[in-house]
């Protein structure tokens, strides 16, 4: 009897795999994240428009990097292997604030999307939080943002509120 139950359970679990998997992805990915990611991967090659961004580190060092319209700033850091210790630890899943960047007021106001509650929740754990702080993984580059400068906080860090 125990064996029968076991087999039943087993077949049930096998049948569940497919539906569980889709549940898994839709539960863990925020809808807007999917759009973000979608934008950077569905961009047709021929229409790729190059943009540049300059990272200003706390010690004054300036790092200029290139990316494409539709890339997030995190994508640009990763693709260019920019040396920012610990940047983007959770890989853009909104579970840390290591990709914290500080914008000028003008650029901040010009950013295409306003931060969501979930992004603000993570920013609240960042050191050196300012009114013009954002997470780099949530900023999708547009032609309008070409050439912007962003400040990298001296301690990329999370702390308890």
């Amino acid at each position: 009897m125990a064996l029968v139950n076991h087999l039943k359970k087993f077949s049930r679990s096998v049948l569940n795999i497919a539906s569980n998997y889709s549940k898994y992805t839709s539960n863990t990915m925020m809808p807007f994240l999917q759009t973000t990611r979608g934008a950077s991967t569905t961009q047709p090659l021929s229409e790729k428009q190059e943009v540049s961004i300059t990272f200003v580190k706390a010690n004054g060092e300036r790092i200029k990097a290139k990316g494409n319209v539709g890339d997030t700033i995190l994508d640009i850091v990763v693709n260019n292997e920019i040396d920012l210790d610990g940047y983007g630890a959770c890989e853009g899943t909104l579970t840390c604030s290591t990709c914290h960047l500080i914008f000028s007021k003008e650029v901040y106001d010009a950013l295409p999307d306003k931060p969501t509650d979930e992004e603000l929740d993570m920013l609240d754990l960042a050191y050196e939080l300012t009114d013009t702080s954002r997470l780099g993984c949530q900023i999708v580059m547009t032609k309008k943002l070409d050439g912007i400068e962003v400040r990298v906080p001296s301690t990329i860090n999370d702390a308890r509120a």
Partner: protein
């Protein structure tokens, strides 16, 4: 063996070049992040990371909740560190028993302690030994596959549970108890925990803190998540929020947003009458005084507190002399972790439960980073910054006057005692089997919880 020794001896005199060798104790986030920094800041350094268990990643594997898989993405960074030829993971080594700190200090240029905080703090109140009063740390270990916690004796055949403590671990415990169990099926939660949770009768969980809403220890993301939990309603106590409205706008942004979120849902408590089967009751201004019950806990007596002090952030709780009793067939203690002294030579503060250190320095050639040094506070990335700092400090201070045997010397000591070691490639064998077993069950992995089975797979 003697030849190797001689070789090192000759080398130390005949060449100018000395290879710095560092040993890290504990393969959790602090250890891996410190290793990453050491490898980066010192061009030819060799880093060995020792781990008591045969498997790496510490609390990323054993602490992070199974329904938070994104947090485990940090493992990709650790895997990159592990692929560095100057890095070595050495599992199944119990420092303090298999090899002493003194021996390690002789065979390495410097030793770094990153072994975390593995014991939980006790409440030290009457009745704490009754059945079904569970250590929060062990409960987390149970559902996350800590070998020593796989036999946890817990009865979920009760309706009411209390959790003492309101930190993020307490929130994790509440969420695991209140989440519809089907949402956990495709996570890496242990199968035996899932099986037991699927039969759980828990429908009411109280989350008890000694201070008020303005001092709440949980973070906003964790609170928001539990407020939105399917089939569960959070019921706040209006009285706990007396005067909070007046203060909220004077707070700094993080505390202000957290408080505003509680106030928003406080209003929903009174207006929302939707029938949901499960309930979370956050309760402020109460301290546990005594557990009541004959063999098993049936209720908890709480002291009613008020706050003293002018500054909101440093206000402290004082008992009013009034009491409240709450029924519970299950209670969790989740008021923080403490570290242990794994070797008598480590300067250790037993009272607060951490290694004595000043900004990461314990003594000459001995350092500490992460929870063993800072105490068990902060999210994983406060540990990251701390470990980066200590890694940099160690690189600067490396005493390179002579060559040291490093791994060769360590292997010799362990071989003499017959301790089998698990290297990174051996762990990958365990990893592969865990993932294969998980795949059959529709999970990312099914963790192996038996150390002997781990060793059998690793050493084959």
């Amino acid at each position: 063996m003697q030849l190797a020794e001689m070789y090192n001896y000759i080398r130390s005199f005949s060449t100018q070049h000395i290879v710095p060798r560092v040993c890290i104790i504990g393969a959790g986030p602090a250890g891996f992040y410190a290793a990453q920094q050491l490898l980066k800041t010192s061009a030819d350094i060799k880093v060995d990371i020792l781990e008591k268990l045969p498997v790496p990643y510490g609390l990323v594997r054993f602490g992070v909740a199974p329904d938070h898989p994104e947090v485990k993405n940090v493992i990709h960074t650790f895997e990159k560190t592990a692929s560095n030829p100057r890095f070595q993971f050495i599992g199944n080594v119990n420092v303090g028993k298999d090899v002493t700190i003194k021996e390690l200090q002789e065979i390495y240029h410097a030793v770094l302690l990153t072994y975390g905080a593995e014991e939980d703090k006790l409440l030290n109140i009457p009745g704490e030994n009754l059945n079904n009063i569970i250590s929060g740390r062990r409960f987390v270990g149970w559902y996350n596959g800590v070998p020593a916690d796989s036999n946890l004796n817990i009865n979920l055949d009760v309706e009411e549970a209390v959790i003492l403590g309101q930190g993020n671990v307490a929130i994790d415990i509440a969420r695991i108890l209140l989440t519809p169990v089907d949402k956990l099926r495709n996570t890496d939660i242990t199968s035996f925990a899932l099986e037991k949770l699927s039969k759980s009768k828990i429908r009411k969980v109280s989350l008890i803190g000694r201070r008020g809403p303005l001092q709440a220890a949980f973070t906003i993301a964790e609170l928001r998540e539990i407020l939105k939990l399917d089939g569960c309603k959070t019921c706040w106590r209006v009285d706990d929020f007396t005067n909070v409205n007046q203060v909220v706008n004077t707070l700094a942004r993080p505390r202000k947003r957290l408080t505003a979120l509680m106030l928003e849902y406080l209003e929903k408590t009174s207006s929302d009458t939707e029938a949901m089967t499960k309930r979370l009751y956050p309760i402020f201004l109460r301290s546990p005084v005594e557990f009541l019950g004959s063999d098993t806990v049936h209720s908890i007596k709480l002291s009613v507190n008020s706050l003293e002090g002018n500054d909101v952030s440093t206000q402290f709780a004082v008992p009013t002399g009034l009491f409240e009793e709450i029924e519970c067939g299950l209670a969790f203690r989740s008021i923080g972790y403490k570290s242990v002294q794994i070797d008598a030579s480590i300067p250790f503060d037993i009272k607060i439960g951490r290694v004595k250190n000043i900004a990461g320095k314990v003594q000459d050639k001995l350092y500490a980073a992460g929870w063993v040094a800072t105490g068990p506070v902060g999210v994983i990335l406060s540990t990251m910054t701390n470990a980066f700092q200590i890694g940099t400090l160690m690189s600067k201070e490396l005493p390179l006057t002579e060559n040291k045997p490093g791994f060769v010397g360590l292997s010799k000591i362990l071989a003499q005692k017959g301790i089998p070691i698990v290297l990174y490639n051996d762990w990958k064998k365990i990893d592969k089997i865990e993932c294969e077993r998980g795949k059959i069950l529709g999970k990312p992995r099914e963790k192996i919880v038996d150390i002997n089975e781990m060793l059998e797979i690793a050493l084959k």
